[in-house]
Amino acid sequence: MCQQAVELVTDYLEGALSRRDRRRFEAHLKACPDCAAYLEQIRMTIQLAGQIEPEDLTPEARADLTDLYRRWRSE
């Protein structure tokens, strides 16, 4: 059951489970602290991914792109 449940986590979070499957999945989570913990781990993983910041443009990259833009404007 747990081994199957972990395979459903993404479908669950995407809202892609049928109503019946979602209810069964949620019932299992209530009964199984480890699967509930697993879902939390997946959520935290997603949260961390969302916190990845883009690095700043290097001055070179900035200069290249400004160049590009100016060339286009003068076409």
Binding site: M1, C2, Q3, Q4, V6, E7, V9, T10, D11, E14, A16, C32, P33, D34, C35, A37, Y38, E40, Q41, I42, M44, T45, I46, Q47, L48, A49, G50, Q51, I52, P54, E55, D56, L57, A61, R62, D64, L65, T66, L68, Y69, R70, W72, R73
Partner: protein, 193 residues
């Protein structure tokens, strides 16, 4: 917002163009690196994309979001630049969790580690974001692309599908495998610390 920057770009506002580029450059580079064989080709694909943007911006009708349009161009450029060797893992590694973690009845053999105390339901970003970034690089390219678009860049499911040219179902499978693998890597790091 993109809309305002775009209007300014159209009227010749150079600063607005640079701001637009700054907003998307790194995510584009990350995605391009997962699509092509090396960094130089990736950078070229990104440059080409911006060129395509400045040339096509008059025609951009805003039917899709600018972001989706931008990344769709990038994916097309990168794909024509030369695809990376696919390195999908074998069938056995496609389970979300290592099968040895379960007993004969399919239940957890050992209790799961709790990553954070109840009181602090978030992980310390300074420590764990770099680890996750490194883990992202270890994913097979197609899984990395989906996770990047969905979880890192916050694209909606239909936007990610439109950018990558894949079905919803396909996207979900890749997302599932990618997230599972990331969780597994984080879990291993947790155990060490």
């Amino acid at each position: 917002m993109d809309g305002e920057l775009l209007s300014r770009v159209r009227t010749g506002d150079e600063e607005a163009f640079v701001m637009l580029v700054a907003r998307y450059q790194q995510p584009m580079l990350r995605l391009a690196c997962s699509l092509v064989s090396n960094q130089a080709v990736a950078e070229e694909a990104v440059q080409d994309t911006w060129l395509g943007v400045v040339r096509g911006i008059e025609q951009f009708e805003g039917r899709s979001s600018f972001k989706t349009w931008l990344f769709r161009i990038l994916v097309n450029r990168a794909r024509s630049a030369g695809a990376r060797e696919p390195s999908e893992p074998s069938i056995d590694t496609l389970r979300a969790v290592d099968p040895t973690r379960f007993d004969a009845q399919g239940q957890w053999a050992d209790p799961l580690d709790r990553w954070a105390e109840e009181s602090e339901d978030r992980l310390d970003a300074a420590t764990w974001v770099p680890i996750l970034k490194a883990a992202l690089d270890e994913l097979p390219p197609r899984q990395r692309q989906v996770v990047m678009l969905r979880d890192v860049e916050g694209f909606a499911s239909d936007e990610a599908c439109a950018v990558l040219g894949i079905s919803t179902g396909n996207q979900r499978i890749l997302l599932h495998r990618g997230r599972s693998r990331l969780r597994e890597i984080l879990d291993a790091e947790m155990e060490k610390s």
